[in-house]
């Protein structure tokens, strides 16, 4: 103990650079902050001031920097995760809401909600390299694992727009149910999943043909279907589960990606929005907008184990390994 103590205080003295615990970073939409959760203690260890209305949040592939959509500041902020300092800002187009980082670790595809545009930014030169006209209120962003296709979904146009990342042009537009919110490719890249908040469904597309392959419906006993509103979702790498945030129904659905069947519903905080896994995918952290907290779900047990208070209207979450 006596020997360890100085080491601990040294670590604290240096900030968190040598702390062992991995972290979950949460953007708080109505607080203009990020809450950093220590995954070992499941407590908020840092609160970082950022730009206005922070929403989309993602780390560089090597986790060297954090990218954050500061929607009302009309910029993407690049943040040093060690110090929490804003290093610089990227041109993002107006009102960036959500984005996705291309597997090349260099190009960000950004949904500009107010302008019906997807902006492609080179994070190295810090220049906009393309702007693509999409439907009204673009929000959901995805990129295929091989990087060939980027997706924008538009909330009022109710479409998934398929972008060829070589030409930065649309090559397909597919209709989904009302108010698409989030899109993800499966880890093998063969399918695209799109959630529709008001439609209450997830549409699964075959990537090759861009045709609808399956539609997933949700039904929770005692909750009116209108309130079961799929928003963010995450897929486990082992292909066993897809976790779907169901908004104001305050539940997360567990979907079997083989059969497209819902196997379970887990009660979380109010208006559950997005989520992130820890490194080994043993824990899932959901952002609950209305209750202003994060629910921690044990993935093996499929059970919520803790609620962590964060800022006002937590929106997105991202995992950061520290070792």
């Amino acid at each position: 103990m006596r020997i360890l103590l100085p080491a601990v205080s040294l670590a604290l003295g240096l900030g968190l650079s040598t702390a062992a615990a991995d972290e979950i970073w949460v953007s708080n939409e109505k607080d203009d902050t990020i809450s950093v959760i220590d995954i070992d203690t499941l407590e908020v260890v840092r609160t970082i001031d950022v730009g206005e209305r922070p929403r989309g949040i993602t780390f560089a592939i090597d986790h060297s920097v954090l990218y954050l959509c500061a929607s009302d500041s009309d910029t993407v902020q690049v943040i040093d995760p060690e110090t929490g300092k804003i290093l610089h800002e990227l041109p993002s187009g107006e009102d960036p809401e959500q984005f996705v980082l291309h597997p090349d670790n260099r190009h960000l595809y950004i949904a500009n909600e107010d302008d019906a545009i997807t902006t492609v930014v080179d994070t190295e030169t810090r220049k906009v390299i393309a702007q693509i006209d999409v439907g009204i209120e673009p929000e959901g962003m995805a990129v295929s694992p091989d990087g060939d296709i980027a997706i924008t979904t538009s909330e009022t146009t109710n479409m998934a727009h398929w972008i060829d990342t070589k030409t930065q042009e649309l090559f397909a537009n597919t209709i989904v149910d009302q108010r698409p919110r989030h899109a993800e490719f499966t880890h093998d890249g063969s399918e695209l999943w799109v959630s529709s908040e008001i439609g209450g469904t997830i549409t699964v597309f075959d990537r090759e043909s861009q045709t609808e392959k399956a539609k997933i419906n949700f039904e929770i006993q005692g909750i009116h279907p209108d309130r079961v509103q799929p928003v963010g979702f995450e897929m486990t790498k082992d292909g066993k589960h897809v976790f779907v945030a169901l908004g104001p129904s305050n539940h997360v659905a567990v979907v079997d990606p083989e059969t497209y069947e819902v196997t379970d519903y887990l009660l979380v905080g109010r208006r559950v929005w997005h989520m992130a896994f820890n490194g080994d995918e043993s824990l899932l952290f959901t952002t609950n907008g209305v209750s202003g907290d994060v629910t921690v779900i044990d993935v093996a047990e499929l059970a919520p184990i803790k609620t962590i208070k964060v800022g006002r209207f937590p929106w997105g979450a991202a995992y950061r390994p520290t070792n």
Partner: protein, 390 residues
Amino acid sequence: MIVRPIAKYLVILWFCCSVAHAEVSVTIGYLEQVEVQPPVLSNLDPVPENEGLSGAELGLKDNATTGRFLKQFYSLETRIVDVGGDFEAAARELLALTPFVVVKAPKNKLLMLADLPEAGTAILLNAGAPDTDLRNESCRANLLHTLPSRAMLTDALAQFAVRKKWTDWVMLSGPNPKDEAFADSIAGSARKFGIRMLESKVWDVDADMRRNAFQELPLLTQDFPEHDLLIVADETDDFSRYVPFNTWEPRPVAGTEGLVPAAWDRTVEQWGAAQLQKRFVKGAERPMRPVDYAAWAAVRAIGEAVTRTNQAEPSAIRAYILSDDFELAGFKGRPQTFRTWNGQMRQPIPVTHGRAVVAQAPFEGFLHQRTELDTLGIDEAETACTAFRE
């Protein structure tokens, strides 16, 4: 006289549908009868001239953006009839161009339009008249409503009051027919939700022209029995702005002033509404009003049906709009559909106080076997509308 317009109409119809397989072109009409605004005590908030039209224009833009990706093309044909103008002629003109017409007009004009032979297979969307009987005994099969009925609005307010346990009401209503209609609707909602209407008075502007609201209101409200809520029924927007804080008893004011139920308000910002508000303000340079919202929803409903069916034939569009498959994301947190028994668009009703949304109806605890949205307005079991029965 009648034969010629029909023939013309059929030609247009044939043209529209013959191209439906490849590309779809849809013309949506916007028809408005300008009404005389009665004089009011204050001119602080005039009704904007482009109320309604601005909503339709935004709806068209939204449709066109979607259509661009699907080879569907939209255009808007507008006819605005001045006070004393020939509404019927304008209506016939529009119906010769398109079967889809969004209308902002008073009840008698709406019914005249709906009963024109040229309108037989048309889809008319009422975005301006809140009269409940248009959704009830006076309903027409070719007339849908995206503006909530008065009954929906006053039911929303009644549900709110029940939730707050503010169930003793008194009412002050204006002398205009619109004010009376609102007062009647309030009385109906009070009965429906078990609220006691202890006393009603009419604000009589004719009695003494020297009166002013500031002096008059404490006197007028002095002998009201003990109550929780003072309802003001003044759709004309004449005296109601002077009621809050001028009452004898310190009681909240609701109805057309204070706490107001409406299809839309500039304070609605949840569920992505902030984006719709921004888009609207960009074009109209003013906040979106309920009639703008209803016109937007009407144009979007047609657009949504065209998008999903990939055709523009009115009978197919009507069938789709009234089917279970139709839903519109109307930025109020729930899918908006149409009631099959009277053509009214189901929708949540925000209850606001001008600076913020206080709450949104339907409220938890008001249950319905189909959807809680049907606790607002005329339900299937009580409808007197038979035109929608096939």
